[in-house]
Amino acid sequence: MLIRIKGGHVIDPGNLDSVADIIVKDDRIVEIIKRSDAKRTTESHRDVPYDHDIDATGKIVVPGLIDMHVHLREPGHEYKETIETGCRAAVTGGFTAVCSMPNTSPVNDSSQVTEFIISKAKKAGLARVYPVAAISPGLQGKGLSEYGELKQAGAVAISDDGKPVVNSQLMRRAMEYAKRFNLLVISHCEDPELASDGAMNEGIVSTRLGLAGIPNAAESIMVMRDIAICELTKSSLHIAHVSTEESVNAIRKAKKRGIHVSAETAPHYFTLTDTAVLKYNTHAKMNPPLRGEKDRQAILEGLSDGTIDAIATDHAPHAVLEKKVEFDKALNGIVGLETSLSLSLDLVRQGVLSLSGLIEKMSKTPARLIGVRNDFVVGNTADITIIDKEASFTVNPDFFHSLGRNTPFAGWELKGKAMLTMVGGKIVHISS
């Protein structure tokens, strides 16, 4: 199988930024021909008939996007999403790989579950799935999972996502022990007592709606604790779904002090505020909750100045019935895989990030954090996303590949999408 992606604007931050052709043979990149060099190269494959000759003129060609925070729901909650449907949604959104969170049933706290997820993903043959294993067995916060065996089985990180690790001593030991296996510790930062039974952000909107609020401090207090533990243990820490100004400030300061902390935020935190909840919109309910405008601005600033390293969706599919209930009874979370790229490209249009800065946050940095290679280098695996910046579409959840329909962006006119997604040399998505 020989594929040429020709004439696209190839951006591999720190490596390539020019119009070039990429030649893929079987699963690998075999040649990268910059247009400026075109005359000098032998163009070894020129006369060979390509199985696919893809015209990427005017498009952006980047190392495959990676979403490091996704709930695939399988095993156990296949009515919400399966590994196959989740991966189908991922490649449609331009993602060549996703990290799957461990709050499945059973919880991914054993090598058997990790191996099951990887084998299911292979069978689906769409996006790569890098499992995140549980920090503690059953997400119970009472002990350490077997990180050594989990790593060997293919886990790339550990997290009790969905639940905070309340016990500080356990968090300390988890960070210390995970260091030995180069497993990234991803923290869901939330003080459960402060968050209490809150259903949305605490503020004017929650007061008007008569809904229990979750204060910003419920997140930042744990961000600060985990930074302190990270400093103590001299390990690495990744903060999941940052939503508040105080968290951004704490992470910025920690980075200045040389602490190895990284952070992600999700498109909804830089796109929406808690006013999206008005009229009791359960599709705007997630944890952490949508915050105020001041927080949204702080997130944008954090993205712009590098405090926030990655954009991840926290893709959380739910069945229709789990959202079509009273607001306080509705489950937390929204789907994100099929809208993330478009919403994030808005950051470029707003001047918050350069195009290459965006590719860093959606592709290169997530790869580096979970320890996988994702560069346009001859001989590397061909995981490639071709982005059409100008293509616009209306979000219609009925057409999602994800089983989840829970999005606050239904009906939105979005601009920019994945035109083609290639995983290991295989074309897994072509935009219609």
Partner: protein, 312 residues
């Protein structure tokens, strides 16, 4: 003016004109309850369902009596007697009720926003009889009716609401409605019970109760729920009564003709002393009496009675 709203969900969406129409209609309804035969035929053939998903005595009874005095057929169901104990969702239960063609559904529910969800799927009118911590519009309207009856107008009155503002749907509805009608509203109570951003309604917060009630025209006391102690909202009933309770000495700092109100049920000796609850300024039982008239007005306006029959 004709009343065109399908539902009564909150005070926030009612205009000054609509509120005035409701209060004027309620004033006229009041006399019916004084007659030897307390019944008029205006809603004969109309079906009203009271769906109370949370315990209630006075509100449910008040709606029930109001419906019967207008000759409507009124059926009452509660959560424990409904299929919801069998796991049916609220929307499904409501759609099944709808299939039996009621004209009005009165909903009391523990979840804020529940009536909105139903109003979107039901053709029947929905009256919010209290949703979570959100709103309780018929209570605010009967409070406004009572204030207007005693003072002539709401405009320009200094009205103080004291207690657990954060968890009170009565407070939210009254704040919204009273400010709309031109009153100056002050809220007071322990800082733990004042919700974030409440000033956004255009009201003042004063956690010093003595200062808050000075020169008040109306003092509205809210019920303190004992179980809130476990959420660290106040140390004890004893201390609450001492710092935030309404007693005779405190009443004396308000205006000479102050009105003392309470949505009930009262914790005597906690938020209010016996002598104040039963004292000369208390209009607590007038509120209850007016509640029936006010709810008759809501049924009458929603069931289209105004378009057919005139009670005058």
């Amino acid at each position: 003016m004709q009343f065109v709203k399908k539902d009564i969900l909150d005070m926030a969406s009612l205009s000054v004109e609509e509120i005035t129409l409701i209060l004027d209609t309620a004033d006229r309804m009041k006399e019916i309850s004084e007659r030897p035969i307390k019944k008029v035929p205006v809603l004969r053939g109309k079906t009203i369902v009271l769906f109370f998903h949370e315990p209630s005595t006075r509100t449910k009874l008040s709606f029930d009596i109001a419906a019967k005095r207008l000759s409507a057929d009124c059926i009452s169901i509660t959560a424990s007697s409904s299929s919801m104990v069998k796991g049916e969702t609220l929307i499904d239960t409501a759609k099944n009720i709808e299939a039996m063609k009621p004209d009005i559904l009165v909903l009391r529910h523990a979840s804020s926003g529940a009536p909105y969800m139903l109003s979107k799927v039901l053709k029947a009118s929905v009256i919010n009889a209290g949703d979570g911590m959100h709103e309780h519009p018929s209570q605010a309207l009967l409070d406004m009716m009572t204030i207007r009856e005693k003072k002539g107008s709401i405009q320009g009155l200094r009205i103080v609401i004291v207690g657990d503002i954060a968890h009170s749907r009565v407070a939210r509805s009254n704040i919204s409605g009273l400010t709309k009608m031109g009153a100056e509203v002050i809220v007071s109570g322990p800082p733990t019970m004042i919700p974030s951003g409440i000033e956004d309604y255009g009201i003042t917060v004063n956690t010093n109760m003595e200062d808050a009630i000075a020169d008040a025209d109306v003092i509205m006391m809210l019920r303190i729920q004992k179980e809130r102690q476990t959420h660290f909202l106040f140390p004890s009933e004893r201390e609450y009564a001492k710092v935030f309770g309404l007693n005779r000495e405190r009443v004396s700092t308000a205006k000479k003709d102050v009105l003392i109100m309470h949505p009930g049920p009262i914790n005597r000796g906690v938020e209010m002393s016996h002598e104040v609850a039963d004292g000369p300024y208390s209009i607590i039982l007038d509120q209850v009496t007016n509640g029936v008239a006010l709810r008759m007005a809501l049924f009458y306006l929603l069931a289209g009675g105004a378009k057919n029959v005139d009670t005058d």
